[in-house]
């Protein structure tokens, strides 16, 4: 969903529905350290997939959906808290409780995964990198320029974003259900947000597709955030990180 301008590609890893690509710009990093960091990232992906997958009966989330009471780890507990936070902030436009089958945190799991992977890389001493989880980005250490692709042409850009120690998340209408109506979201064709928190970025992008430009009011309490939306044949944006193309 987003085009990333990169110069070193560490690799792509998949676990369940998660696909993670790492770009590292740190210099003079031992190959073995990169390999170890990569293995650690993959271990975390497996852990996240095991904990959050709604299709795995043994996952914590699947058991909670089935009504079980269980001791969950800090990661699951934090994700539940973040879901509540995002639901409250967006006035219910992001609502993991409104989905068929019960609580489903998938709407912010890309962001959560990006934060977890970034923590792993930092533990290995890496400072300049970008984590890409299925198109949602977490950029660290320097300014990363990110192109927001045109909803009708992936080779065209409608805006450029500058992300410095920031997250970038994009959602599109065809992948989002309006939690209030149960129908396909219709607030915007595409929404991209930039801010300091990958988890919230993921949720806000989803919620903006539901509520469209009306969702800008949520950002009254988020002055450090920027966003751009494709609303019909119009581009709408706010915040200093967004630079419309052309």
């Amino acid at each position: 969903m987003s085009a990333l301008l990169v110069d070193r590609h560490l690799g792509t890893s998949r676990a369940g529905d998660l696909a993670v690509t790492l770009q590292v710009r740190d210099e003079q990093v031992a190959p073995q350290l990169l390999a170890d960091a990569w293995d650690a990232v993959h271990d975390e992906l497996d852990r996240i997939s095991r904990a959050f997958s709604v299709s795995r009966p043994d996952s914590a989330v699947a058991q909670l959906r089935a009504g079980a009471t269980l001791l969950v780890d800090d990661g699951v507990a934090t994700v539940i808290d973040r879901c509540l936070e995002a639901r409250t902030l967006t006035g219910g436009a992001f609502d993991p409780w409104a989905l068929d089958g019960g609580f489903d945190p998938s709407g912010l799991l890309h962001g959560w995964t990006a934060e977890v992977c970034a923590d792993v890389l930092r533990r290995y001493g890496l400072r300049r990198f970008c984590v890409d989880v299925s198109g949602d980005l977490l950029c660290r250490g320097e300014v990363w320029r990110v192109a927001v692709t045109h909803p009708d042409d992936a080779l065209r850009s409608v805006a450029t974003l500058e992300a410095c120690d920031a997250a970038v998340a994009t959602s599109r209408w065809d992948a989002v259900v309006d939690p209030r109506s149960g129908l396909r979201a219709s607030g915007a064709r595409q929404a991209t947000v930039v801010g300091p928190d990958a988890v919230l970025a993921d949720a806000l992008a989803t919620a903006l597709v539901v509520d469209g430009v009306e969702g800008s009011r949520w950002f009254a309490s988020l002055p450090e955030w920027s966003a751009c939306l494709v609303d019909g044949d119009e581009l709408a944006w706010w915040g200093s990180a967004v630079h419309p193309a052309g």
């Binding site: 808290d81 509540l84 639901r87 609580f103 581009l235 944006w237």
Partner: protein, 84 residues
């Protein structure tokens, strides 16, 4: 309603309890050791489902929104690799 949410751990950072309707009871559980903090939280699927009734806040005006015609955009400067 029976006790729905318990909390575990000795570190303040893990003591935040899932925000639930006021009817959801909370209780401490024994920690494993004073020197080795246990982490995590006991969560009930029933309580989790009940979180849907939490009230929503009123919202205020947001930032100034700029607009312009979408147009066709500009070239992003890359081409996809051909599928094999």
């Amino acid at each position: 309603m029976r006790s729905l949410v318990l909390r575990a751990g000795t570190v303040a950072g893990v003591l935040a309890v899932l925000a639930l309707p006021t009817t959801a009871a909370q209780a401490e559980v024994a920690t494993t050791s004073a020197s080795v903090p246990s982490t995590g939280r006991i969560v009930s699927g029933e309580a989790l489902a009940a979180a849907i009734v939490a009230p929503l806040p009123r919202t205020t005006a947001g930032p100034r929104v700029e607009r312009r015609a979408l147009g066709s955009g500009t070239d992003v400067g890359y081409r996809p690799v051909a599928a094999s």
